[in-house]
């Protein structure tokens, strides 16, 4: 089985497990939408302020709840499953790539739904021609966040306070992704060019992908 065939198979299995568990659709996504509802309630009925903070709240909620998507139960292999993959001769790098593919699919879906909810709830002033650049930025952010989540999930596998610890690692490291993603829309509104921000996202995604593939084997050893 080739590297890519292994990666696609891992992604397929991961998505199937997630479909059965339904953690993201039934728990994380509704909770994130509740998160969007809390901010205006705390701020008071100031429609112009609510409309102004909408995109910022979207990124804050997206990153915080996106971590839950990245650290979802379906992406966590127990010891037996790891041993099985090792016995089957699955390349650890293919496992990382597979996890990144499935996680990115879920993360993009999660962020798109959250974006739609934000637009409905906050009525932000969006610049003309926003959908394509924003979706591209969103996609690149989702890939990076998933890569970070996969790496942090492996580093903290089996630890007592795994979720809190992995979140503490992911959130600060996601800084280039948050900046790149949020500045895409901001630059579009100011008409100052979005290319540098998209390049920042691409560079971060690539750096994380290289780190993930290069460290896949030591990561697998570390999580045993």
């Amino acid at each position: 089985m080739s590297f890519w065939a292994q990666a696609v198979e891992i992604a397929r299995v991961d998505l199937r497990v997630e479909r059965r568990l339904g953690d993201i659709l039934r728990v994380v996504l509704p909770f994130a939408v509740v998160g969007l509802l809390v901010f205006p309630l705390a701020l008071g009925v100031d429609l112009s302020a609510i409309s102004l903070i909408g995109p910022a709240v979207f990124w804050a909620v997206g990153i915080l709840f996106g971590m839950q998507v990245a650290l979802r139960q379906a992406a966590h292999d127990n010891r037996e499953r790891r041993d099985l993959y090792a016995l089957l001769g699955v390349d650890p790098a293919a496992r990382f790539v597979g996890r990144t593919i499935s996680g990115s699919v879920l993360m993009v879906g999660f962020l798109v739904v959250l974006l739609a909810a934000m637009i409905v709830l906050y009525s932000p002033r969006l610049p003309e021609g926003w959908p394509i650049p924003v979706i591209v930025g969103l996609f690149l952010t989702a890939v990076g966040l998933t890569e970070l989540g996969t790496l942090a999930g492996e580093v903290t596998a089996g630890l007592r306070n795994r979720t809190a610890l992995a979140s503490l690692i992911i959130v600060p490291l996601a800084l280039p992704l948050v900046i790149g993603g949020s500045q895409t829309l901001e630059s579009l509104a100011r008409d100052t060019g979005i290319l540098p921000w998209l390049l920042l996202l691409v560079a971060t995604d690539l750096a994380l992908a290289v780190a993930g593939v290069a460290m896949a084997r030591p990561l697998e050893e570390a999580s045993r």
Binding site: L159, L168, P172, L173, L175, A211, M215, A222
Partner: protein, 236 residues
């Protein structure tokens, strides 16, 4: 031990010399006496970046060589990096309060991104505390140490990337943006604080070796108690 003491003593002298240079150098026309903070703030931040770079290098070396000394170096450097980052942030806030009228300014992306970098390495130290097994601890923290450095360039170049209140680099390839006397004081402080970092690093590594020896001794346990022989016991 003597070597560590000599290093720390000479580092103390170097820092005092740096401070003396900072106090005799001319001040900025607009910022007045507060401009002297630059002589501590910039070197502290430079050493913090250096410390995290050393951590990344030591982490990669651990992954290649798997010897404990690289793990020791990585964690010692992170601890110092965290302390220097906190000190750099504090001096920056004091400077900001004096010059901008606000200790924390969101218009300064360098400040916010440095604070975020600080928390990445707090996470690194938290991860180490969560893993009791030394081999596993070294392995996982080496992976994080190698990945975490990814954001250091973003923090460094944030003043160039964003519209910012923070001044850009004072020393550039095309020359410095300050008079020679101020530049000399700044460079002396760069050398002194870097030397202080290396002295503290050597001291921390020495301490880590002592801690490991003590832990090994504790694990071995005390010598077994030999019960007295009946013939040696009186009044039986």
């Amino acid at each position: 031990m003597n070597r560590v003491r000599i290093l720390l003593a000479t580092a103390g002298i170097a820092v005092l010399t740096g401070l003396w240079f900072a106090f005799i150098s001319p001040v900025d026309r607009l910022q007045g006496e507060f401009s002297r903070i630059l002589n501590l703030h910039a070197p502290f931040m430079w050493v913090a970046f250096l410390a995290f770079g050393v951590t990344a290098f030591a982490s990669i070396m651990w992954l290649i060589r798997r010897t404990l000394r690289w793990d020791r170096l990585a964690v010692a450097s992170v601890e110092l990096g965290v302390v220097f980052t906190a000190t750099g942030l504090f001096t920056g806030m004091v400077w900001g309060q004096a010059v901008w009228g606000r200790a924390w300014d969101w218009a300064d992306p360098r400040m916010a991104s440095t604070a975020v970098m600080f928390f990445v390495y707090i996470g690194y130290l938290a991860l180490r505390r969560a893993i009791p097994d030394p081999e596993m601890r070294a392995k996982r923290s080496a992976l994080l140490g190698a990945i975490a450095v990814i954001q250091v360039p973003l923090v460094y170049f944030s003043v160039n990337l964003f519209r910012s209140l923070h001044q850009t680099q004072s020393i550039r390839p095309d020359g410095a943006t300050m008079p020679r006397e101020m530049l000399t004081a700044l460079l002396v402080n760069f050398v002194a604080i870097t030397y202080l970092y290396f002295a503290l690093l050597v001291g921390r590594l020495h301490l880590a070796r002592l801690e490991e020896a003590s832990a090994a001794e504790t694990a071995r346990g005390p010598d077994a108690v030999t019960p007295p022989r009946l013939s040696e016991v009186k009044d039986v």
